[in-house]
Amino acid sequence: MTTVDLAQTQAWLADFAAAIHENAALLTDLDRQIGDADHGSNMDRGLTAVAALNADDFADTAAYLKKVGMTLVSTVGGASGPLYGTFFLRFAGALPAAADAAGLGAALRAGVEGVAARGRAEEGDKTMLDALAPALRAYDEAVGEGVRPALEAAAAAAATGRDATVPLVARKGRASYLGERSAGHQDPGATSATLLLESAARNLG
């Protein structure tokens, strides 16, 4: 049975940091269309700080991930800082030692629920939750197949959810100020959240 270890977890975050850096201009450009043009630079600043953490400094995966969450809270700012920070803090809090697919699923659920609670958003509000919530459902459905297949299903569902944000009228976050004019644009946070799950699927399990 595959379990998630500290090295894998750090690889996940390193991969996510690289993906954010590569996509920073895209994320900012999406945010430019229906927001304030900073999602890419916000996330890039935070993940650069996360990538600088040394896994050897931490007793276990949960401790490392807790620090990841605190680092994001302390460096990202904006809406995405507390949301991604909460995701990792709750994720870390729910992650069992030597987590298997089910354990990882519990952590993922805690993380996603943390985002929903912190942001008071629901699916369909055109936020990162529109990628995270379907990803969690897909993960749970595939959890019996093991960590990697479940994460692959989650990443695919996140991408579908991200694409489905395009026609939505935003009800939460900055895009909501645009009202009807927010329709026709892809949500930046759902885009970065999909990168998060894609990195997970490439590195965990």
Binding site: D36, N42, G78, R174
Partner: protein, 335 residues
């Protein structure tokens, strides 16, 4: 991308570099916590006084840092450009200005600002600092509903910081200040218009593109597109586009009003005064008695051209606090 056409060094250092300039200019009255990018009254904390802390993304100067000083803010947290400050910054500001009487957070209603201030308040409470937060949401351009993020906090923030800051200076306690702030928020409304978007240093191109013959109505303060695009119009017509939704949202007759005609950053003062003339005429025609006014760049959106109108229905208390002495880099009177 070449150098973005701004008076900056590196786009990532804009806030840090500007803070050095603010320190060089105002060392006599302000103290800068460079680690946390917080601007403090040089004499903070003041014994017995509730600390007033505000902040948000940078790019709205003079808000908030220009309003730190006697009779207004004790500290301002400077986020990155258009990015809410992180909880560490708010926490540093909060503990630095707390003198035991507690700290009031004045927070503009943006998801990021609200969440980051909330997290900081939790941290501060855990350290035994009494914190109250009041959220400002005065922008009538945004439809309010239970299911949305609600209205943005915009121009009223300036009036709020002045009035609440004066009350704190007079010694009002934390609960009294929070309730005053909520009364101010309930009585103020704003509406903005843009002739151009603005260019975020990191991005190097305008956040939105507007034709030579177009206006963006109902904009906020982050260069984001507004609610509606309309054909370019005369100052008189633009004034009506600002005044009408404000008056439609709240009845401002029967009490004196404090009116601010604010520039978004790149609009010449000549045009702001011209617009104020138009706005004042329309308000008076609608039966609003303008008791006080403020015309200039107070809450900006980098290099956006445009302006916003804020009207606050004031009671005697608010008027008195408005007139009270204030001594900050950007607002100074009655000393």
């Amino acid at each position: 991308m070449g150098l973005v056409k701004k008076l900056i060094n590196d786009a990532s250092d804009v806030v840090a570099d500007a803070l050095r300039g603010i320190e060089a200019a105002h060392a006599d009255r302000l103290r800068i916590d460079h680690d946390h990018q917080v601007i403090l009254r040089a004499d903070a904390p003041r014994a017995g006084k509730v600390g007033i802390v505000s902040g948000g993304g940078s790019g709205h100067e003079p808000l908030h840092g220009g309003f730190v000083g006697r009779g207004m803010l004790d500290a301002a947290c400077c986020g990155q450009v258009f990015t809410s400050p992180v909880p560490d910054q708010v926490m540093a500001a909060t503990t630095a200005v707390d003198a035991g009487a507690g700290v009031l957070h004045l927070v503009k209603n943006y998801t990021g600002d609200v969440m980051n201030f909330e997290m900081a308040a939790e941290l501060a409470a855990a350290e035994g600092v009494q914190v109250e937060a009041v959220v400002i949401d005065d922008d009538v351009a945004v439809t309010d509903s239970l299911y949305t993020a609600g209205r943005r906090g915009v121009g009223l923030t300036v009036l709020m910081e002045k009035i609440v800051g004066a009350a704190a200076e007079e010694g009002l306690d934390l609960a009294g200040l929070a309730s005053l702030a909520r009364r101010v928020n309930a009585s103020g409304r704003s509406m903005g218009v843009a002739l151009t978007s603005c260019t975020v240093p990191h991005v190097g191109r305008p956040t939105f593109d507007l034709g030579e013959d177009e206006l963006e109505i109902g904009i906020g303060i982050h260069g984001e597109p507004g609610r509606e695009r309309r054909p370019m119009a005369s100052a008189r017509e633009v004034a009506a586009m600002l005044v009408e939704p404000v008056l439609a949202d709240r009845d401002f007759t029967g009490a004196p009003a404090i009116v601010m005609l604010n520039g978004m950053g790149a609009t010449p003062l000549l045009e702001l005064y011209l617009m104020y003339g138009e706005v004042a005429t329309l308000l008076r025609e609608a039966g609003v008695e303008i008791a006080r006014n403020l015309v200039g760049n107070y809450i900006t959106s980098l290099d956006m051209a445009g302006c916003s109108l804020t009207v606050l229905g004031a009671d005697d208390d608010m008027l008195r606090l408005w007139d009270a002495p204030v001594d900050t880099p950007a607002l100074r009177w009655g000393l």
